[in-house]
Every structure is written in C-alpha cells, then in structure tokens.
C-alpha cells in the first residue's frame, strides 16, 4: 500500500534504549512502501559531556558507544530500500561515527556509503569559548568547560539528504529537527512556512522519545493497560504534504497508540503549549486536537507555527564534583526506628562537613526533597522493610568517600540487623544553558563518500 505521505520511523529515544527496536519499524516501513526515513535520538545533556571526555582520551571515540548496536541491524535493509537514517549519534565526534558507519557498511557488503556529517554545534574549542564568554552569566564565564553545544536545526540535515546522503550523522541538534530535516528534504517547504514546520516539529517531538508515544512510560495496571510491553513497537509518523500527520507504530509488536498516549507525549517536556521553541520554528499546540482514526492510529490536527527564535540555545557542562551514595537495609519488627537511628548516627559522624540527603526507602524517598523537609514532617511509623539511603555531593572527593565509609561501618557499629550495604562514588557534571544569536553559531554540513 503506497500513500502520498512520508513515513518517519523512530528507532531510539535515548542512549540507553533497546537495540532491537528499529528492526520492526524498518520492516513496517518497507512493507507499507512509499517514501520513508528512520531517526535515532540518542543524546542527553550528560551523554554529550561524557562523549566529549571520551574523545579527549581517544580522538577516534566520542560518538554514541552503542552506534553499531543501534544501526547495525537495520543499515543494509534501509540502504537497500532507500530509507535514509538520521541520528544525533555523532555526539562529540560525528566524523568518527560517520567513518565507523562506512566500515560497518563495507562489512555488510554495501558499496560506498554516502554519509552526511552535520557539525558546528560544538562550542568547546577556543573560538566557541570566546563566544560563550559573551553570553554566559558572569558567574559561569570563568569556569572550566567540559562540553558546550549549540542546538542546531533541520536545515543542514535536509541539505545532506538532498545531496543524497544515505545516513546523516549529527552532534547536538534539537530532537524534533531530526524528523523535520527528513520531511523538509522530501517536501521542500520554505523555511518560513511556519505552520507546516510547526506541525512536523510536533511529529518529530512525538517520535523523539521512541516508545514513549506507543505505550512506554504510560502503563498503570488497573487504569491504563498496555499489551505486550516486553515487545513494545516503536513509532511511525505519516507526514502529509501539508505537514499534517498520523502517529502509528511498527506492525506485529506490543504497545499501543491511542489518544491518551499521544496527549501525554504531546505535552512531555513542554512548558508554554503556545511556544515550543526549536531552532526551526516556534510550534504552538494550544489549539491541537487528537483523533483516533483506526487501531493504533491517531491523527494530530490544529498545530500552528510562529517565526523561529532569533537565538539558539547552548547547553554547557562543567565539572560538578563528586556524588556519593550509600545504602543499608533494615527489616522486620521495629525496622523503621532502626533505620532512623542509623541515619542519626551517620549525621553525627559527618557533622557539618557535608550536606546530607537522607531517604528511608519503603517509608518516603523519591517524593521527598534534598532539604529533608518532607521526611522531617513524617511521623515515625512501623515500616518493616526499610532501606536507608544517604547521599551527598562535594568538590572534595575525600569528604564524599568518608561518607561511604561511615555508612559501611554501620555493619558493626550501627543498629541491630543492618545488612546489604552498597556504596557508589561518581563524578558529576553540572549544566547551564544560555542563548546566542543564531548567526554566530552556524551549522556546517559535509558529505563523506
């Protein structure tokens, strides 16, 4: 069945996503025929900073570590069927990822793979740092930058596809721009066709988190049932020539697409619904409507667009010191009181050298606050399976290590029956963002054969 639409599949929604998700999406795209594209969104703020650190250690590294596991299973099928792949899996080294994909293509018996590389997002070099000093808050401008990346838009992706790229590798681009780039290349819309760009931006927004629109991050037994979550199908958006679209999913998979899943994801990470800012457009879902038009098929209408912002967002990561976490469990009669006593012992041992967060898992934890106000307001109860968790962060590693040692020592010096100590120490990154005029951070696009 061929429709007069461009079908865009979502193969991944974050770096830790399932590697086998894209396969059924690609098979569905091939079976349904017509023009299609596949996107992979694998970049979070922290992911990019870690990638930058990896690249400093090894100049060939710094792209998505699971690149081959994501793309390998579908590369040949996509190339053979003319389905371009667009991914921000280039992270801190899009060229490195492009070269790796070209090697992968040869290993799979494909001829030379034409890859588009989108760069210009990395502002961690000297020129970028000079630029950022103008736009960062004064308190941040002097700090040592781990990574700094400006969110690029759909333009360079569309340019690479028009040049015949089979795969487009980017660093930081706005997540919805991955899909919009594919659609702009196919339909050739003007860059001030705001309503159309706004619609497709929201299609990209719905695809960018993978299964979150097909029943992932959704199930609530007794309230919201989702079939076969272990085999959840990833999404496909069918984009019409005017940018209107239908959300559906891979065939013969679990999960579901209905008005509820689409509404939840439509508003995910949205602030003012009338102003969802991307480098391409300001999308406006204040008048949006969703309609179930078939099994696992939802049409989204009423999305508008307004002229794109004059600035681009930059995400900057700095060294954030050390995070230490330590846990110990108490169970059975009087367990909660023993866990509370253990927390008090740790507080007295640490004194004012660290600001501690204390959780009583099984009593109150994730809903509480770092200041301990919610836990202090909770009258002691008689929970019988309680895990004490203590966490602190500090620039001085030794102080944080001392906390872990104090929790470990509770084995012998703490309340009765304390067991299962686990400790972890990790370096942290702290993130700020700023805005720069778009003309000061242009994207670059290059084709590698």
């Amino acid at each position: 069945m061929t429709r007069d639409v461009l079908s865009i599949g979502g193969g991944a929604g974050f770096s830790g996503d399932r590697w086998d998700a894209a396969g059924p999406v690609v098979e569905t795209l091939i079976k349904r025929g017509g023009r299609a594209a596949l996107i992979f969104e694998t970049l979070a703020e922290r992911t990019l900073a870690l990638a930058q650190l990896a690249r400093r250690k090894d100049s060939a590294a710094g792209y998505e570590p699971s690149l081959e596991r994501f793309v390998g299973p579908v590369l040949k099928r996509c190339v053979d069927h003319g389905i371009p792949i667009i991914g921000n899996f280039g992270a801190a080294n899009p060229r490195g990822a492009a070269r790796r994909l070209q090697v992968l293509a040869r290993e799979q018996g494909l001829a030379r793979l034409r890859v588009g590389v989108v760069e210009g997002d990395d502002l961690s070099d000297e020129r970028g740092r000079t630029l950022l000093r103008e736009y960062l808050a004064p308190s941040d401008a002097g700090r040592e930058i781990v990574s700094a990346n400006v969110y690029q838009g759909a333009g360079p992706i569309a340019a690479a596809l028009r040049e015949g790229a089979k795969v487009v590798v980017t660093g930081r681009v706005a997540d919805p721009s991955l899909a919009l780039g594919a659609a702009v290349a196919h339909y050739g819309w003007a860059e001030d066709d705001w309503d159309t760009l706004g619609r497709v931006t929201m299609a990209g927004h719905l695809l960018e988190c993978g299964a979150q629109v097909t029943g992932g991050y959704f199930a609530d037994p007794g309230f919201k049932e989702v079939p076969d979550l272990h085999d959840i199908g990833y999404p496909i958006a069918e984009v019409a020539p005017d940018g209107s679209f239908v959300v559906t999913k891979a065939e013969r998979t679990g999960g579901l697409v209905d008005a509820r899943t689409v509404k939840e994801q439509l508003l995910y990470e949205v602030h003012d619904p009338a102003a969802y800012l991307t480098p391409d457009v300001i999308a406006d879902i204040s008048q949006a409507e969703v309609q179930e038009i078939g099994e696992d098929r939802v049409a989204v209408a009423g999305v508008q667009g307004h002229p794109r912002p004059a600035t681009l967002k930059v995400s900057v990561c700095f060294d954030g010191g050390w995070l230490g976490e330590a846990e110990i469990s108490y169970a059975g009669p009087n367990a909660e009181r023993r866990a509370r006593l253990a927390a008090e012992i740790v507080r007295q041992r640490i004194g004012d050298t660290l600001v501690l967060r204390v959780d009583l898992i099984g009593v109150l934890s994730v809903f509480a606050d770092d200041g301990g106000r919610a836990l202090a307001a909770r009258a002691p109860g008689d929970a019988r399976d309680v895990r004490l968790r203590v966490a602190a962060a500090h620039a001085d590693r030794a102080r944080v290590e001392r906390l872990l040692a104090e929790v470990t020592a509770l084995y012998t010096c703490g309340p009765a029956g304390g067991g299962g100590v686990r400790t972890s120490l990790r370096s942290r990154l702290s993130t700020v963002s700023c805005l720069v005029p778009r003309e000061r951070a242009p994207a670059r696009c290059e084709i590698l054969d």
Partner: protein, 120 residues
C-alpha cells in the same frame, strides 16, 4: 463535600506524565473523560498544586489549560533541587512527580461516580 458529592483521588479522573528541563518540571493532567474536565479545571488550581509541592519550595507554578485536549499542563519552577545534574534525589529527573500531583483529592458529584477510572 455534601451528600451529593464524594471525594476521589485525581488519578481516578485523570492521567498525566512528568517531563523535566533543568530545575523545571512539567506535569500534564489529562482528563480520562470530557465530563471530568470542568471538575479538574475548577479544583486542580495553581495554588493547590503549589501547596502539594510545598516541601519542594516551588518558585513559580504556572498552569496552561488545553480544552481541545481535555488537558492541563503545570510548569513548576525550582522543584527539582537543581535538576538532573545537581539533585541528590534517586529520581533526579522527577519522573515520579506526576503521581504526587495525581494523589490530590477531588470532590466529585455522585452522578459521575460510575465513570471514575480504576478498581472500585
């Protein structure tokens, strides 16, 4: 509350999802049925949501109403203890927070009781 109303948790009238950007959390509240939408618009106010997140010390709570989706979007500033990279919470993203909001109590007319979602 009177004889003609009952009290029910918001999660029997609406579902929702949390997203985060920096130290800002957004929580959608989406009516399961159109009949519930006016009730939740009336009762799930910025003030009540700010109170429910009081221990997180929100610096601002803003509500956006989306009648065509039967939904509201709450934007809560400063409730993530610095956000994903700075919070000491296990759930640094605040992914669980939609369910903190959905635990709010709502007065529901008896006539609508049969429509409430979930186990009786």
């Amino acid at each position: 509350m009177s004889e003609t109303t009952l009290r029910a948790p918001l999660y029997r009238l609406a579902h929702g999802r949390t997203g985060d950007k920096g130290d800002r959390s957004n929580v959608s509240v989406i009516a399961y049925r159109p009949e519930f939408f006016p009730l939740i618009v009336e009762q799930v106010t910025e003030a009540r949501v700010a109170e429910r997140f009081g221990h997180r010390r929100p610096t601002a709570v803003r509500r956006y109403v989306l009648p065509k989706l039967g939904a509201m979007n709450f934007v809560l500033d400063g409730v993530l203890d610095g956000g994903v990279n700075d919070s000491l919470n296990l759930d640094t993203h605040g992914k669980s927070l939609a369910f903190l909001l959905l635990g709010m109590e709502i007065d529901v007319p008896q006539a609508l009781a049969p429509l409430l979602a979930g186990p009786r």
